[in-house]
Symmetry: C2
Subunit: 442 residues, 2 copies
Amino acid sequence: MPIADRVRARVIIIGAGFAGLRAAQRLSKLPVDVTVIDRKNHHTFQPLLYQVALAVLSPGDIAQPIRTILRRNRNTEVVMDEVLGIDTGARQVSLASGAVMAYDYLIVATGSTHSYFGHDDWAKVAPGLKTIEDATDIRRRVLLAFEFAERQMLETGSHPPLRFVIVGGGPTGVELAGAISDISRLYMTRDFRHIDTKAAQILIVEGSPHVLGMYPEELQKKAAEQLNALGVQIRCGAHVTDIQPGYVMVGDERIESVCTLWAAGVQASSLGKMLGVELDKKGCVLVDEHLNPKNRPEVFVCGDLAHFEQDGRQVPGVAQPAMQMGEYAATRIGLRVSHPEKAAYQKPFRYFDKGDMATIGRKAAVARIVWPFHADWSGFLAWITWMVVHIFFLIGFRNRYAVFLSWAYTYIREEDGVRLIVGSQNLPGWERLVEAEDRRAS
Amino acid sequence: MPIADRVRARVIIIGAGFAGLRAAQRLSKLPVDVTVIDRKNHHTFQPLLYQVALAVLSPGDIAQPIRTILRRNRNTEVVMDEVLGIDTGARQVSLASGAVMAYDYLIVATGSTHSYFGHDDWAKVAPGLKTIEDATDIRRRVLLAFEFAERQMLETGSHPPLRFVIVGGGPTGVELAGAISDISRLYMTRDFRHIDTKAAQILIVEGSPHVLGMYPEELQKKAAEQLNALGVQIRCGAHVTDIQPGYVMVGDERIESVCTLWAAGVQASSLGKMLGVELDKKGCVLVDEHLNPKNRPEVFVCGDLAHFEQDGRQVPGVAQPAMQMGEYAATRIGLRVSHPEKAAYQKPFRYFDKGDMATIGRKAAVARIVWPFHADWSGFLAWITWMVVHIFFLIGFRNRYAVFLSWAYTYIREEDGVRLIVGSQNLPGWERLVEAEDRRAS
C-alpha cells in the first residue's frame, strides 16, 4: 500500500527547541504527518545566547526560522501559534488563534523559563536569559550602565561603582560574568573618555557552596580561579533577599549594583500543567522509561520539561539530553506506527552523557569530557574545544560561517562587533539611580 | 604656543548621522574640543536600512557605536543624551540628563523624521523607516503577514489576499517594494505549505505622476518597468485618504492591505525649532551660503535639517550632500579658529552632485551618474554599481565584510539570512483582520 493511501498517524510537536526539532527531523522519513507548533517563528541556539547579550553575535547568527530548518521535510508543517490547552482525553490541542488540532501522538517539548522563587517583581530589575528578546534587553542594560556612568562623570565628576551583580553561578551566570569582564577589560576600553571601563566590578552571588555545581570539584576550582583571573568576584553560600533598581540585598547586606542579571532559577514551562499528570516541584513532568507520563503512552515529554531520573539523578536540562529524548520519542512513535509488535521490546531511554562544557571568558573554559575519552580540561584547550563543538552544532550553514567569522574578528581585533543599544534609551530604574547618586554626593 | 595651552574653541555637534560624523572626523585634527551628542549609541547607515527590514541584513551589519567610530579622535567626546533646548544667546545646549553644555560653535545635524501630514494616528498602522527599531518593526509586520495567512488557510481554507501597500514611490518606497517582491517570489517560497507566497501583491501608491520623481524621465520609466517585472503594481497620482488595520483608502476606493508601510513624507527634526530662526514649511532651517541660519555665524545646520538652495532647487535630503555639508562646516570652523582672516574669503558651500542611485530588487536598479562621467544606467549594471558604492561607504571593516558576505550568500543561495520575528508575536490590528476575514467568509 503506498504511503499516500494509508491512514497516517498525526504527530503534533509543541516547541521547536533542541528536543522538538530533533524529533521532527527523525520523523521526517516515517509514514506520519507532523505538525510543529511554536510561539516564535525561530529556533534559538540557546548555548550562544549570552554572546548575543554581550554584543559579540547578532540575533540572526544564532536563530533561524523553524520553517526554513524543516522545509525539506515534506510530511511536516509548521504553525506559529500559542497552545492554550491540551485535552489528553480527546487527543486535541487548542491554539490561541482558535484552531483545534487532533493528534495520535503528542510530543511536548516547551522547555523552561526563569523562576524568581516567588519574587516575580524581581524580573523587571534583573532579567534572565532565555530568548532573543531577553538577550537584547540584557545587552541594552549592560551597555547603558557604562553610558550612564560616563554621563554622570561629565556632570558630577564621579559615578557610582560600575558593579554588575549576577545572581546564580551555574553555566549561564559564569558565562555572563566572563563576557562582561571581556567587554569591560578589552573591548570597550578605548571608547570612553571619562570612565575607566576596566574598573567595572563583576560579582556572582551563588546560593550553593560552589559555582558550576554539576561539574567535578577539580573543575569547579579551576573555574573559580579563571573567574578570579578575569576580575570576577564570587560569593558562594550567599542568598539574595531583595533586588531593587540600583542595589541587591544579600542576606542583610546591601550591595550597590548598576545592573543585575538573573541566572539562578528555572521553572518548567506552564504546558506541563495542561497534561493533567504528575509534576515535580519545578513543574517538570514525571516521565517513565519511555518518556511517557503515567498512563499516557501516546504523549511524550522531552527536554527541560521532562523529569527523568537516571542512576538516581535527574538528567540535566541542557541541549544533549533534550536532543536524545527527541530522537527517542520519534523512534518510538515510528516503531508503534510501523512495527507495533517491536515497540514492546524497545530499550528504555537512557541518556548517553558525552560531557559538559562551559566557557568563562576569552581563552578560559572548563570541559568535562566523557566521550570519546575521559578528561577534565580547563583553560585554553577547553575553550578551543568549546568553540569547535558549538560551531558544529549550530544549525544552518549561514549561522556557522557567520559565528565563525564573528569569533575570529573578536579574537583578532579584541573588539566586539554589535554593540548596539536598541529600544528604549533609558536605563531601567534610571531615576532611582540618579537619586541614589544625589544622596551619595550630598 | 603649544595647542594644549591655547584656550581651545568648544564645538558641539548634535546628531551623529552622515553630516555630524563627517564634521567630527574633519575637526579631529584641528585645535578644538568636540562633543558629539546623540540620543542613540550608534550611527545607522540609513541607505541599507530597508535590507534590515526585509531580513537580508542584521541590525549590527549597518550600525556601529558612535564611540567606536570616533575613538581615535583624541579631541572628541561622545555623549549619549537627548537635547531638550538650545540657547543661541547664551550659546548653551541643555540635555535630558540635566547637564548644560557651552559651545563656541554648534553644528546641528539631527536630520528628519516621518511626516504623516497631520494624520499621526496612521503611524501605528503604517510605520516608516528611519531607525533600526523601525526596521525590525517592519520586518516583524511583513513576516507576520505571511504567518497569519498560513494560519488562516489552516483554519478556514482561505486567506485575505496577501497585499502589501506602500505609500510613497520615492527611493525608500521603491526599495521596500522590490525587497518584498524578492522575499515573496524567491526567498520564502519553499517554507510554507498552504499559502503561495508568490501570490503576494505589492502596490505602490504615489501622489505625484511618477515614481522616483527626482530622477530623469527615462530612468523613471525604466524603474517602473523593472518594478512591473517584479510584480509590483504602481498607482501614480493617487492620494491616500485613510489608513486602518487591514485596509487603505485611496480617494474613495478601499484597498485591502495585510501590511501597510509609509514611505511618503518627511519632516525636519524638532531641533530646528529650538534655534529660534526661520524655518521652511517642513521645519527645515533656512541657511545661507555658509550653512548658517540668519545672524548666527557660530551655528551651522547640516544634512536633512538644512534648507539650502542651489541653482533654484533645494539640495535633496540624502547622504552625499549631508557629508559635504558636515565637511564644509568643519572646515569653516577650523578657518575661523586658526586663520580668521582667511574665513572671509572661503568659497560658499556648493553641493557637488556625483549622482543618485536606487535599487529596485535583485539585479534591478537605476543610477543617474554625474561624476566621474555622465551616464544613466538601469538594470544589472546599475545594481552592481549600487552594491559596490554602498559597500565602499559603509563605516567599519567588520560591517563591510559582513554585508558583503550576506549579499553573496543571499545572491547565491536565493535565500535571506535573518528572517526572525522578535518582540510581540501579534500582528498589529490582528483582531480586526480576523473580523474582516470572518465577514468575507460569511
